[in-house]
Symmetry: C2
Subunit: 342 residues, 2 copies
């Protein structure tokens, strides 16, 4: 059995979406069990609509929940020991759950997870890893918003963790890794990125293949399996890609309605558009994974729909199933040992 | 007459594209005159193919040209007084040209322009401003790659310059301005961005309306006319948007060929697709404008086609026509005077 704790109150739409998302996930994941944390009077009427889910879950009433606009420090101070987010994370710490999923306030989730689960001894940088649809399949991009700025060593830690995650999810022995920069030439970009490039090139890591710098437009081409960057530019990149996808979908919608021919064309091409939407829909693939902590915490997009929340749950499920944490710890240890002798 | 100096050798494809681009631009711009700088034996055979262009231009043979992979400092050292890029910029300095256009190495163009034209006394930050197609029309995003990092004051300078450019190109009295950040809440993001937000809120500038922080996905929605950010994240944002647009176009192409229905649908919808392509084609709208210098320099994308290079020329032309520089100087002066009394 794989046990997922859910901060039911998180996200822009709260339990309406998170509970439905859990119900969607339940259909596809064998042996999943949920621990739901939230405000009873809000959650229970919604939960009742899904009897199968009630049978495969436990509901825990919590005193409060963390608002989307709370500062991380404030959320931790007032939510500690009380909020649905806190309890969902604590369930992982206490060994009651194998992974936690929340669509709540990213900063608060990061702060609480950091405080409650603590950093892995082997890592010196937490990061949020996102799954990015590309022309060649999917890539992992990290950090997409856990922390602003990163030293060279921290970027290398992100590379090692991201490669471990890619290996676990996609069964690729030696994922390719690129550092996001403003040019592919070795002379360009921030000093810490250049230094991280030198470390990755010199310390030949067994678990990944370093490919050098990549630029923003290379992510969507899928030129590498793992894209490494610090949290500010990673977050900008992620949101720009989402925004561009929505913008093009919106424009397509407008131009296809303009003439009788294009309307007919649209009807004939509906299957193709559906396939396209599946490939690029930001809601479908949206789970962010908090890496570097002693536990698996999945951050779902705040504005997500039920299908998107279900994807986030599935990612947590697969990580537990594939023993991601154990593998990342091994990889980081291996890297730091290699680094010593370098 | 508006005189444009062109670094004919710049870009991934050199004179084949830049000369054809000038020929395309010439058809649409009344009273344009070109000063072409490049290697005679390469350029002349190509130029000959466009007799109308020969009649409205002057060709200048140069000793060398700046390679796409030269470091900025190296390009300046070996290209100063010699390369086609240098001469095209110098023509603006000497008053022989009103604006310079190059598709060459961005770092080199920035370094040479900075060295040759010098910073405006009124600005303490050079920036490259790009035009970004949105759901509502077009926005200006800056800095998209001139300099990495920016202080709060420098971000405000970028805001003032970007607003001036928007006003000039689109005839909007008080363009709306947003600071690109990882969240819209005032507590989020880098310290310098937060400080810039406070300055923009407190110093009520006449020439712009400050709207607060925006996120990456807001750019494509067109929520503000001018998006302000430092050069690293701005460059990542630009390239991610381009990459995502190309990725979606590629996927659309694949899914539309899959069935006989969608192929027929494609034929019927061709007009709509053409409209979509025109709206999102990164080659069509690609001119980057170097702001903060004593002269107008337009950076065109290195991988641009002739149509894209023609757009870059058109932007330079319109800036001269609308006296952009004079207006920016006035705006910056006005801002710095207001700031004193604050």
């Amino acid at each position: 059995m794989i046990r997922i704790s859910v901060d039911v109150m998180g996200g822009d739409y709260g339990p309406e979406v998170t509970i439905e998302g859990a119900a969607v996930a339940q259909k596809h994941l064998p042996n999943v069990h949920f621990l739901f944390y939230g405000i009873e009077e809000v959650v229970k009427p919604i939960l009742k609509k899904y009897p199968h889910l009630v049978a495969a879950s436990q509901f825990y009433n919590t005193e409060s929940y963390t608002r989307m606009d709370e500062k991380p420090s404030q959320a931790l101070r007032i939510g500690r020991g009380k909020s649905s987010m806190w309890h969902a994370i604590e369930a992982v710490k206490n060994g009651e759950a194998d992974a936690c999923v929340s669509a709540g306030n990213t900063g608060a989730l990061m702060a609480m997870s950091h405080f409650c689960l603590k950093m892995m001894a082997e890592s010196n940088r937490p990061g949020i890893a996102g799954i990015w649809p590309t022309l060649r399949g999917e890539s992992i991009v990290l950090d997409i918003g856990a922390t602003i700025g990163a030293s060279a060593d921290q970027l290398v830690d992100l590379a090692v963790m991201g490669a471990g995650m890619f290996r676990t999810l996609y069964n690729v022995e030696k994922p390719s890794v690129g550092l996001l920069n403003v040019g592919v030439e070795e002379v360009k970009g921030l000093d810490e990125i250049k230094k991280a490039g030198i470390i990755l090139r010199e310390v030949q890591l067994e678990g990944l293949e370093y490919k050098g710098f990549i630029e923003g437009n290379d992510i969507g081409k899928g030129v590498v399996d793992v894209v490494v960057t610090e949290g500010f530019s990673g977050n900008i990149a992620l949101k720009v890609a989402e925004g561009t996808a929505r913008q093009i979908a919106g424009l397509l919608n407008i131009v296809m309605r303009r003439s009788i021919f294009s309307r007919l064309g649209y009807v004939l091409s509906r299957g193709a558009f559906r396939q396209l939407k599946q490939k690029i829909d930001p809601d479908r693939i949206n789970g962010g994974v908090l890496l570097g902590l002693n536990g698996i915490v999945i951050k779902s997009h705040g504005g997500v729909n039920a299908g998107g929340f279900a994807s986030a749950i599935r990612i947590g499920y697969e990580m537990v199933n594939n023993e991601l944490l154990k593998k990342i710890v091994e990889d980081l240890r291996h890297f730091h040992e290699n680094k010593m002798t370098f």
